[in-house]
């Protein structure tokens, strides 16, 4: 019964996204970007469960985005580029993860930040390859060999982002309920005990880290193919901060939180920028402040509390 309710909720949310994108066409792009970022934020949520915050996850997003940019110049096929870019990001995540999972808290966060800034510098400095801060423009990508008109292409990207979001949300939920997922939460409260039970805290964190980079990679790939323009700014530390911001905004209590947060974030940004062009960051800051002060469970926690109160009444 509960599971049926959840499936219904997911289908409703997906339908809502499609309906909004259909009625307000320019929001289709915004929603696709929101879902792409939501994928990366889902990875942040995973690490938050272990009590760790990465201030450098934009690295994986940017890595996959540039992989798509370089790949699209040769084989512009979405269904080939996306998995390759995501797996590439995950492999990089494994390599970096082997090193960073030895550290906790501020050291974990800052090491991730440092590595993402190294990547940013590489993108910026190697002008002959990356075109520096100008970035790279992407040709339109094909879907299973089909060349789509821009309108259909936009819908295809949104549907792809939606499918990936649902797929990974389900996957993360299963992972979190499993022994490893529970051990991951144990890293936050009593990591030493894990070792005395024969579980390696580092390996558990590494598994979550690689999964998080895989999702960031998927997000980056969708982002690149949707905006069709990649710049080093994707890897700048503020981009990573944005992911953490969205995670807190959406709430870490549920896998729905990141997507809820990402959609709210992008919409606030778009409308705030239109309303008060010079002060949209201030609006975002105020929103986050309010969430932290009055709804520490984020938007998801707020929604749940409201539903709970209505049920009681």
């Amino acid at each position: 019964m509960r599971r049926a309710g959840e499936v219904l909720l997911v289908l409703l949310a997906a339908a809502l996204v499609l309906v909004v994108a259909w009625t307000v066409p320019w929001l289709r792009f915004v929603l696709t970007i929101a879902l792409a970022k939501g994928l990366a934020v889902l990875g942040i949520l995973l690490l938050l469960r272990a009590g760790q915050v990465s201030f450098g996850h934009a690295l994986y997003l940017a890595f996959a985005a540039y992989a798509i940019a370089f790949g699209a110049a040769r084989v512009p096929e979405t269904l080939l580029l996306l998995p390759l870019a995501a797996i590439g990001a995950a492999l990089l995540g494994l390599l970096v993860g082997l090193f960073v999972v030895r550290y906790r808290e501020i050291f974990f966060g800052m090491l991730n930040l440092a590595l993402s800034m190294v990547f940013y510098s590489l993108l910026e400095k190697f002008y002959s390859i990356t075109h520096g801060t100008d970035g790279i423009r992407l040709p339109p990508t094909t879907f299973a060999g089909q060349v789509l008109d821009p309108e259909t292409q936009g819908w295809a990207m949104l549907c792809l982002a939606l499918l990936l979001s649902i797929l990974f949300a389900v996957l993360v939920r299963i992972y979190l309920a499993s022994p490893i997922g529970q051990a991951l939460a144990g890293i936050k409260t009593r990591e030493a005990r894990l070792e005395f039970m024969g579980i390696s805290g580092r390996r558990v964190l590494l598994s979550a880290y690689v999964l998080s980079t895989l999702m960031a990679g998927c997000g980056g790939a969708v982002l690149a193919m949707t905006t069709r323009h990649v710049t080093p700014a994707l890897s700048y530390w503020t981009a990573s901060g944005e992911l953490v911001f969205i995670a807190i905004l959406g709430g870490s209590g549920s896998v729905a939180g990141p997507f809820l947060g990402a959609v709210a974030y992008e919409l606030t940004r778009v409308y705030a920028a239109a309303l008060v062009a010079d002060a949209w960051q201030m609006v975002l800051g105020a929103v986050l402040l309010l969430v932290i002060l009055f709804a520490p469970g984020g938007l998801w926690g707020m929604g749940r509390a409201l539903v709970g109160r209505r049920r009681q009444a």
């Binding site: 299963i174 992972y175 309920a177 499993s178 022994p179 490893i180 997922g181 529970q182 051990a183 939460a185 144990g186 936050k188 409260t189 009593r190 030493a192 005990r193 894990l194 070792e195 005395f196 039970m197 024969g198 579980i199 390696s200 558990v204 598994s207």
Partner: protein, 256 residues
């Protein structure tokens, strides 16, 4: 009886404090060995060395004939050596059931990401363990909401759920209300005897020691001052004066 855990010449010092100054000890398979002694004598340090948490500066430790010196806590627990803690080490944001199930999962292999932790088999076994400790009514409670006595028991239950061959317990009865103490130890001893677990426990309550230990080792300034059956060791005039802190003829339970 064969030797299960064997320590030879263990030495470790923290600054100037010699927590182990040549410890030689054999723990026999199937026995309950109590470790007593004043605070700071190195009792917990011994457990920390035997479980790989601390590396002795000199000496040898073997378990079941295997050299375990230099192994990590993770490797040693996989050989069958579990421990419980003086201050309960629970996953505070998990329920008691989840804590215990995680120990079951740790033993069975944690790397199965597609089935939930509370799958029927793990849940059943965790409930069985909790039931034996009388903790089943608290199974659904978050670990940080328990009282000290229950936290202590849950901590030991997690170690027992690992199905160890050797269990090292650091003050299993501290924090347990004195009225419940004997009951708790009674339960614990029954569970351990049933499953044939060898136990080493640090204990301050001499009544508990007298009743449940097969042998007693007396620690003092990093050395073993006396070793033998409780009736012999606890009546040794030197031990009574230096460790238990009472003169001959006084009731032993005054020492707790």
């Amino acid at each position: 009886m064969s030797v299960l855990l064997s320590a030879r010449g263990l030495r470790i010092a923290f600054g100037g404090l010699k927590a182990a100054d040549g410890i030689d000890l054999d723990v026999m398979e199937g026995e309950f060995l109590a470790i007593i002694g004043p605070n700071g004598a190195g009792k917990t340090t011994f457990i920390n060395m035997a479980t790989g948490y601390l590396k002795p500066q000199a000496g040898q430790i073997t378990y079941a004939g295997r050299n375990i010196l230099g192994m990590t806590p993770r490797q040693i627990v996989r050989l069958g050596v579990a421990r419980s803690f003086q201050l309960p080490q629970l996953f505070t944001e998990h329920t008691v059931l989840e804590n215990t199930a995680l120990a079951v999962a740790a033993r069975e292999g944690v790397w199965s990401p597609f089935a939930p932790l509370l799958r029927p088999r793990f849940r059943r076994e965790a409930e069985e363990v909790l039931d034996r400790f009388g903790l089943l009514p608290l199974a659904g409670q978050r670990a940080d909401g328990l009282n000290e006595g229950a936290r202590k028991l849950a901590d030991i239950a997690m170690a027992v759920a690992l199905r160890p061959r050797l269990l090292l317990m650091d003050e299993p009865t501290s924090g347990v209300a004195s009225a419940d103490k004997m009951g708790v130890v009674e339960t614990l001893a029954r569970v351990l005897r049933q499953s044939g677990v060898t136990a080493v426990f640090v204990e301050h309550d001499m009544d508990v020691v007298a009743r449940f230990a097969d042998r007693v080792a007396v620690w003092g300034q990093g050395r073993i001052m006396a070793l033998g059956p409780p009736e012999q060791v606890l009546n040794d005039p030197d031990v009574r004066r230096d460790v238990i802190g009472i003169g001959p003829g006084e009731a032993s339970h005054a020492a707790a």
